[in-house]
Amino acid sequence: MTSIGLQHYLILAAILFSIGFYGSVAKKNGVAVLMGIELMLNAVNINLIAFNRFLNPDVSVGMIFAIFVIVVAAAEVAVGLAIIIKIYRERLTTSVNDIDWLKW
């Protein structure tokens, strides 16, 4: 059996990113769009940690970046959910097709 290398992790992250991208553009519910964004951020974290571990294992820059990505993801999902709940109160919908106040 071949051993697992950097390419395996990168391809796994690419697949996960594509799934998250598809979910965030093709879903109707605003909460599902946030779920797709979370999947994409997870794929980015896998990439950062794999590069750190395989290419430069003596420093921890990739891991630090992954921690900051997690922090920003938490902030993003909190604010995004607050906006979705506010829109739901005003319009009684969470469908991104109905959120068109800025269109004319």
Partner: protein, 167 residues
């Protein structure tokens, strides 16, 4: 570098990809949220195969423990109509699939062309490395991240605050 049995990696990868596809394809958004928890936990397993134990623990605590629960709260607070039809596709179902598949094929092709200079490194706990960097070179971004979290939480509370119109 990591001397792990490939069976572990393939198993965890299959769980990651399968549950991520289930997040997207499930028609019930509560099921999507539960599959999202499964995805986060199995991504923590991927981190464990990379011997990054600290981030595996953070992944389970923050993603599976906090972010997924917040998303479930969001689902529960905005539920309307039939829950079995709560997570449908919009009009970009096919063109989005086309673009995502094109991106994936392009990325994998470019990865197959690239030679990475892989080096062998020490295998051990990553907590010490992370701690030294976090409170040494990166202490200012660390404080900035703390302020960002505080501002985001206060902002989320202000945006979602309930309906007393007089205030």
């Amino acid at each position: 570098m990591v001397d792990l049995s490939p069976v572990v990696f393939w198993t965890i990868s299959a769980i990651v990809i399968g549950s991520a596809i289930a997040v997207i394809s499930s028609k019930n958004i509560v099921h999507s949220a539960l599959f999202l928890v499964l995805t986060f936990v199995s991504v923590a397993g991927i981190y464990a195969t990379l011997t990054v134990d600290y981030l595996a623990a953070v992944q389970i605590l923050v993603y599976a423990g906090a972010i997924a629960i917040m998303l479930v709260f969001g689902v529960m607070l905005t539920k309307r109509g039939d829950i079995r039809e709560s997570n449908l596709f919009n009009q970009y179902k096919y063109i989005g699939l086309l673009i995502a598949a094109g991106f994936l094929i392009m990325t994998v092709y470019m990865l197959s062309l690239t030679e990475f200079p892989v080096v062998a490194g020490p295998i051990g706990s990553s907590v010490e490395l992370v701690a030294i960097s976090m409170f040494g070179d990166y202490v200012i971004p660390f404080e900035g991240a703390a302020i960002l979290l505080l501002v985001a939480m206060v902002g989320a509370v202000m945006i979602a605050r309930g309906g007393n119109k007089k205030q």
